[in-house]
C-alpha cells in the first residue's frame, strides 16, 4: 500500500514538519511580511515536497530542499503580487482570522520584524540576505551558500561587509542600541 495508504509516509512527513516548520515559517514571513501568505507558502511547499518524493528519507538534504523551495516560492510570490514586504498593520489585522490575543501577539511580531527590516534595508540585497539567513533563519554559512548557490567565502564576505556597514551606520547616527 505504501504512500497510497498514507499512514507511514504522512507520519514521516509529520516529523519533518515538526523539525522545520518554525524555521521555514519565519523564513517565509520575513520575505512576505504576511502571516497568511507565509502559512500558505509553507503549507504548499510541504505538500509539494510530500507529493514529489515517494520516499522522503531518500531526499539527500531535506533542510536545503525545503529552504530552497520556500525561497523560490517567496520569489514567485513577489513576482506575482508585487506586494510591499510589510502591509499596513491595520489592514492586516482587519483581514486576519485570528482571535484578539493572537492578533496582538502577531502585531508584536510584525513590529519586531519591521524594525529589523528597516535596519537591513540599508544594505544591498545580497548582504542583507546573507545576514538575515544567518541571524533570523539560523542557517550556517555553508547552508546559506547552498541555498544562494554561491561559494561559502562569498557568503562570509557579504555577511562581514553587511555587518561593517551597519556598524558605520550606527556610529554615524549615534544609535548605540537598537532597542535592546
Amino acid at each position: 500500500m505504501g504512500k497510497a495508504n498514507g499512514h507511514s509516509t504522512l507520519k514521516e512527513l509529520g516529523e519533518v514538519i515538526t523539525e522545520f516548520q518554525d524555521q521555514l515559517f519565519r523564513f517565509a514571513f520575513f520575505r512576505t511580511g504576511s502571516f497568511a501568505d507565509s502559512q500558505d507558502i509553507v503549507q504548499e511547499v510541504f505538500i509539494k515536497f510530500y507529493q514529489e518524493n515517494s520516499h522522503l528519507s531518500s531526499v539527500k538534504n531535506i533542510k536545503f530542499y525545503l529552504f530552497k523551495s520556500i525561497s523560490n516560492a517567496c520569489v514567485d510570490y513577489h513576482r506575482k503580487t508585487r506586494k510591499l514586504k510589510f502591509e499596513v498593520l491595520d489592514k492586516l489585522i482587519q483581514t486576519s482570522d485570528l482571535q484578539e490575543a493572537d492578533a496582538l501577539q502577531n502585531l508584536i511580531h510584525r513590529e519586531e520584524y519591521n524594525r529589523i527590516e528597516e535596519l537591513l534595508n540599508e544594505l544591498p540585497n545580497e548582504q542583507s540576505e546573507a545576514i538575515s539567513l544567518r541571524v533570523l533563519d539560523n542557517l550556517s554559512f555553508a547552508e546559506i551558500a547552498a541555498i544562494l548557490d554561491v561559494p561559502v567565502t562569498t557568503v562570509k564576505s557579504r555577511f562581514k561587509y553587511g555587518i561593517d556597514k551597519l556598524k558605520t551606520k550606527i556610529v554615524n547616527s549615534k544609535e548605540v542600541s537598537y532597542g535592546l
Binding site: M1, G2, A4, N5, G6, H7, S8, L10, K11, L13, G14, I17, T18, Q21, D22, L24, F25, R26, F29, F35, Q39, V42, Q43, F46, I47, Y50, D97, L98, Q99, I108, H109, E112, Y113, I116, L119, L120, I131, S132, R134, V135, L136, N138, L139, S140, F141, A142, K156, F159, K160, I163, L166, K167, I170, S177, Y178, G179, L180
Partner: protein
C-alpha cells in the same frame, strides 16, 4: 593566530558550524588582543540588535492543516478508485460510515468560515485536527465494541430489537496497512494486498481488491483520520447538533442527527445508523487526543436505545501477523468478488417479476435460474446444498406490491411462501438493479 588572520577569520565566530580548531585559535587571540576583542564585541552587538526579541513560530495548526489536506487528497484518490465496482448498497454504507464519526465541526465551524472563528468552533477544530494528527502517529489498535445486530448479517445492519453482538477490530498501521474486523459469524480482513470476507454460516469466502468496502460502516473506525476530514465536508451539507465538554481529562463530543432516506414505508427506519434519528457520543483522551470511546443511541420519540458501544480501545500493541489471515476450512476456496451481472432473464422486468422468477425457480429446483439472481445458489458447497434443500419445492402463496424504503437503492417485494415442511414464511425480498447492466439481483430477505 595573528591580528591579520583573526580579522580575516573572525566572521567564522558567527557561524554555526565553526570547527573546534578555528574557534580555539580565534578566542585565544581575542583574549590577548584588545582591538580584535573590541571588533568582536561590536559585531556581536550589531547581531544581537538584529535578533528578534520575540520568537515567531509557525501557527499551531500549520502542521495539522498540511496533514489534513494530504489526508483529504489521499482520501479523494482512494474514494475515486473505491467507487468503481462498488454496489450502491455498499456506497450507502460508506456514507453511513462517513456520517458516523465526525460531524464534529458542525455548524459553528461552517458559519464562522469568515473573519473570526468563535471559541467553540475553534476549540473543536483544534481538538479534531490534533486528534487526526495523533491518529497518524499510532502503530496499531484493537477496538472491541458491541453492536445491536445479527451476527451473520452485514456490518451495516442495526436494530433496536437485536441483541448486542461482540465485534473486534484489529488494525496495524505500519506499512503495509492490515486489518481484521470480526463479528463472530462475519469476518473481513485485509492483508495489505487483498480484502477477504468470510461468512462461516454459509461457508462463503469472497476475495476482492482494496477498493471494495467489506467492512461497511465499521470502516469509519478503521480509518478515523480520513473519516474525520471527510466528515468536515459532509457536515457542511447536513444540519447536526454538536455539544462539547471536558471532564476528568476526557473530551466528550455529542452529535445528534436526523434519519436520512425515504420513509413513506418505514421498513428501513432504524435499520442502519444513517436511517435512524441518532445520537453519537465520542470520548477522546484530552492528552493523547486519541479516541477512547463511542456510544451511539437510536432515538425514537422519548425512547433511546444504545445501539453501538465501544468497550475498549488499545493502541500500539504488538499484533500477530497471522491475525490478518483468514484460514478457510478444507474444501472451501476464495471466490473473486464480482459485480458484473449478466443474466438476460433478470433484465428489463419489474422487481415483482424478479420475485416470481426467484421463488418459482426454487419451487421447481431450477437452481441455475435462482443462481443467476443470487450467486450463493450457484455454489455446490455443503451449506448451499443445505439452503437449497430448505427452499426446494416451496409453494408461492403471494407476491405483493414492491416498495422503497430508507436509503436502499433497490426495492423490497413482500412475499408469502410455504416451505415443504409446512412452515409459512412472510418477508420482503430485497432486489436491486443498480449495476452497469441494470440486471436485477436478489440482495437478501429470503
Amino acid at each position: 593566530m595573528d591580528f591579520n588572520e583573526c580579522k580575516l577569520e573572525m566572521v567564522n565566530l558567527f557561524d554555526k558550524d565553526i570547527d573546534h580548531k578555528s574557534l580555539t585559535g580565534l578566542l585565544e587571540h581575542i583574549q590577548h588582543c584588545p582591538d580584535c576583542a573590541n571588533e568582536y564585541r561590536e559585531m556581536e552587538k550589531i547581531l544581537s540588535g538584529l535578533k528578534p526579541k520575540t520568537q515567531l513560530n509557525a501557527p499551531i495548526l500549520l502542521k495539522q492543516n498540511i496533514i489534513i489536506q494530504l489526508s483529504k487528497m489521499e482520501e479523494m484518490k482512494n474514494s475515486t478508485s473505491r467507487t468503481f465496482g462498488i454496489s450502491s448498497k455498499v456506497r450507502k454504507i460508506l456514507s453511513i460510515a462517513a456520517l458516523l464519526a465526525v460531524v464534529l465541526i458542525i455548524t459553528p465551524f461552517v458559519v464562522k468560515n469568515d473573519a473570526f472563528m468563535n471559541g467553540t468552533a475553534k476549540a473543536a477544530d483544534i481538538f479534531i485536527t490534533s486528534s487526526i494528527e495523533a491518529t497518524h502517529l499510532i502503530k496499531s489498535m484493537i477496538i472491541k465494541l458491541k453492536v445491536r445486530t445479527i451476527s451473520d448479517d452485514s456490518f451495516a445492519l442495526v436494530g433496536t430489537e437485536y441483541p448486542m453482538v461482540d465485534h473486534t477490530i484489529w488494525k496495524s498501521f505500519e506499512n503495509p496497512v492490515k486489518w481484521r474486523v470480526d463479528k463472530g459469524d462475519r469476518v473481513a480482513a485485509f492483508d495489505g494486498n487483498s480484502q477477504y470476507l468470510w461468512l462461516p454460516k454459509t461457508e462463503e469466502g469472497i476475495k476482492a481488491g482494496p477498493e471494495i468496502n467489506f467492512t461497511e460502516w465499521l470502516q469509519i473506525l478503521l480509518n478515523p483520520a480520513n473519516i474525520l476530514s471527510q466528515e468536515q465536508k459532509l457536515t457542511k451539507e447536513r444540519g447536526s447538533k454538536l455539544t462539547m465538554n471536558e471532564k476528568n481529562g476526557l473530551l466528550n463530543l455529542t452529535i445528534t442527527s436526523k434519519a436520512r432516506g425515504n420513509f413513506i414505508n418505514d421498513y428501513c427506519k432504524n435499520k442502519s445508523i444513517e436511517e435512524s434519528d441518532n445520537r453519537r457520543e465520542y470520548t477522546f483522551d484530552n492528552v493523547t487526543k486519541l479516541l477512547k470511546g463511542l456510544k451511539i443511541y437510536i432515538l425514537d420519540g422519548k425512547k433511546e436505545t444504545l445501539i453501538v458501544e465501544i468497550t475498549s480501545i488499545e493502541y500500539d500493541l504488538k499484533l500477530d501477523p497471522s491475525r490478518f489471515v483468514i484460514n478457510l476450512p478444507v474444501g472451501v476456496e476464495w471466490k473473486e468478488y464480482n459485480q458484473n451481472f449478466t443474466s438476460e432473464t433478470f433484465r428489463n422486468i419489474t422487481s415483482q417479476r424478479v420475485a416470481e422468477l426467484f421463488f418459482g425457480g426454487m419451487a421447481r429446483d431450477d437452481w441455475k435460474l435462482v443462481g443467476e439472481a443470487c450467486d450463493f445458489f450457484s455454489s455446490t458447497s455443503e451449506k448451499a446444498r443445505s439452503v437449497k434443500n430448505q427452499f426446494s419445492g416451496l409453494k408461492v402463496i403471494k407476491i405483493g406490491e414492491p416498495f422503497k424504503s430508507g436509503l436502499y437503492p433497490g426495492e423490497f417485494v413482500p412475499y408469502e411462501i410455504r416451505l415443504k415442511t409446512g412452515e409459512l414464511v412472510k418477508h420482503n425480498l430485497a432486489v436491486r438493479n443498480d449495476n452497469p447492466n441494470k440486471t436485477w439481483i436478489v440482495d437478501g430477505g429470503y
